[in-house]
């Protein structure tokens, strides 16, 4: 049971709100307050489009505790169109159809359940985007 921990990330998990560096203009996701490109403060919120392409992917056959029900599932690194990479699961897709370079878009899905009486954690996954 970890309500504040999930609650405080709601803007990131549900809406992909990151930050933009006022100094060099780098778009940052996840938000990190100090720009890794120029080391200047970056507090300005920035709404990402949720669109990108697949940089790499893997279908998992062995899951950590809390994710066993999803096996097998496909996790990917997505290159967002604004620049950053993001790690997320793919949704609504046959693992054999996934390819590097495939266009994808963000959707909101269940990330995990913490048992019968526990929290259900929602957040971003990505699905194939029709060209």
């Amino acid at each position: 049971m970890n309500i504040p921990r999930y609650w405080r990330l709601q803007n990131q998990r549900y809406a992909m709100v990151g930050e933009v560096c006022n100094k060099c203009g780098a778009k940052l996701f996840p938000p990190r307050d100090v720009c890794p490109e120029c080391s200047k403060p970056a507090y300005e919120p920035y709404q990402f489009s949720g669109r990108g392409t697949i940089y790499s992917y893997s279908t998992l056959y062995q899951a950590p505790a809390g994710y066993e029900e999803f096996v097998p599932y496909t996790v990917a690194l997505i290159r967002l169109e604004e620049g950053p990479l993001v790690t997320a699961q793919l949704a609504d897709i046959d693992p054999t159809e996934v390819e590097i370079g495939m266009p994808v878009e963000m959707v909101t899905r269940k990330l995990r359940e913490e048992g019968d009486d526990g929290l259900i954690v929602y957040g971003y996954k990505f699905r194939k985007k029709d060209a």
Binding site: L9, P30, P36, Y55, S56, Y57, S58, T59, L60, Y61, Q62, A63, P64, A65, G66, Y67, E68, F70, Y73, V75, A76, L77, P84, L85, V86, T87, A88, Q89, P95, I100, L111, R112, V121, G123, K125
Partner: protein
Amino acid sequence: MRDVSIIGIGQTKVDEHWDRSLRHLAGDAVLAALRDAGAETVDALYVGNMLSGLLTGQEHLGALIADFCGLRGIEAVKVEAACGSGAAALRQGYAAVAGGLHDLVVVCGVEKMTDTVNAETTTGLVMAADADYESIHGITFVGINALLMRRYMYEYGAKHADFANFAIVAHQNAVTNPNAIFSSPITADQFSKARMIADPINLLDSSGIADGAAAVVLCPSGIARDGGGRSVHIRASSVATDAVAVHDRRDPLWLSAVEVSANKAYQQAQVGPREIDLFELHDAFTIMSALSLEAAGFAERGKGVWLAEAGEIALAGKIPMATMGGLKARGHPVGATGVYQVVEVVQQLRGQAGPNQVPNARLGMAQNIGGSGATVITHILEASD
């Protein structure tokens, strides 16, 4: 700063030690290292460990292990840097001796991984990654490495079979290491048909999870009595870091902390990769071997995998690695691994590696990685005359 030498080593077999607890394993290694050094007590103990809190419900390992080894009262502390915890502890021991705080120090890496079931251990290992932005998506530690391997294969045109020699050589070397968990050689066919864990990484791309402990005793080189080439000089010790999450790195296929850590070590030792006689690298997965060889200067970008393919990593090759089996086949008790690597380099430099001896080994490098490349600790060791 004082020069530092290793004057004693100890290790347990890497195995599923159902009959030995975490403290017993650590005690076995520490006491063996003290015996090897001819020391009865030390000024301080540094313990490298990653997962004792989660898997054993036991933290506070410094005092626990010091007391268990009959060293009650000395300075003792646990050091954590994910799978790099072992070498991180060695780095602390080195700093204490080099800086003149202590004259005699023991460093112990220990991990107890078989008291829990698979999913719990998998959950523990992924704690090396970014909890809020990687692990929450159900990715495993194997999965993170699989993302790197897939991209590597895509960018450089390597096939899965091209990585086979990393695993085959490691298993071959483990056959004659009595402390290795795996004692059977494997074939290319077995490698390609092994059970898939996180596509494209299969079981035989991956190091074996197990229990184990290893220890070394350090003292200033000036007061190391040299009992017939037994003391080994630490020529360099360095640490570098990178973003924990792979997605936060500028270039996921370039392990920049490996590059920085190795270059700092080369600079301190005043040598280059060509002068290194053996390289105990962090072969947790075959892809990590390829990436490490590249960033540490043994292969050009995108060419690391071909060193294995060409047999250059074998005992008689240009750059022998995993000489006692490596993480792959000696086994990877995560927080202990960095100390095992150094113990094995010492065996090689003392000429005590038996059938696994690298001929004329003078300079050996050990590189231990925390996470998928976020903490990288490099040590270069030199045989005494």
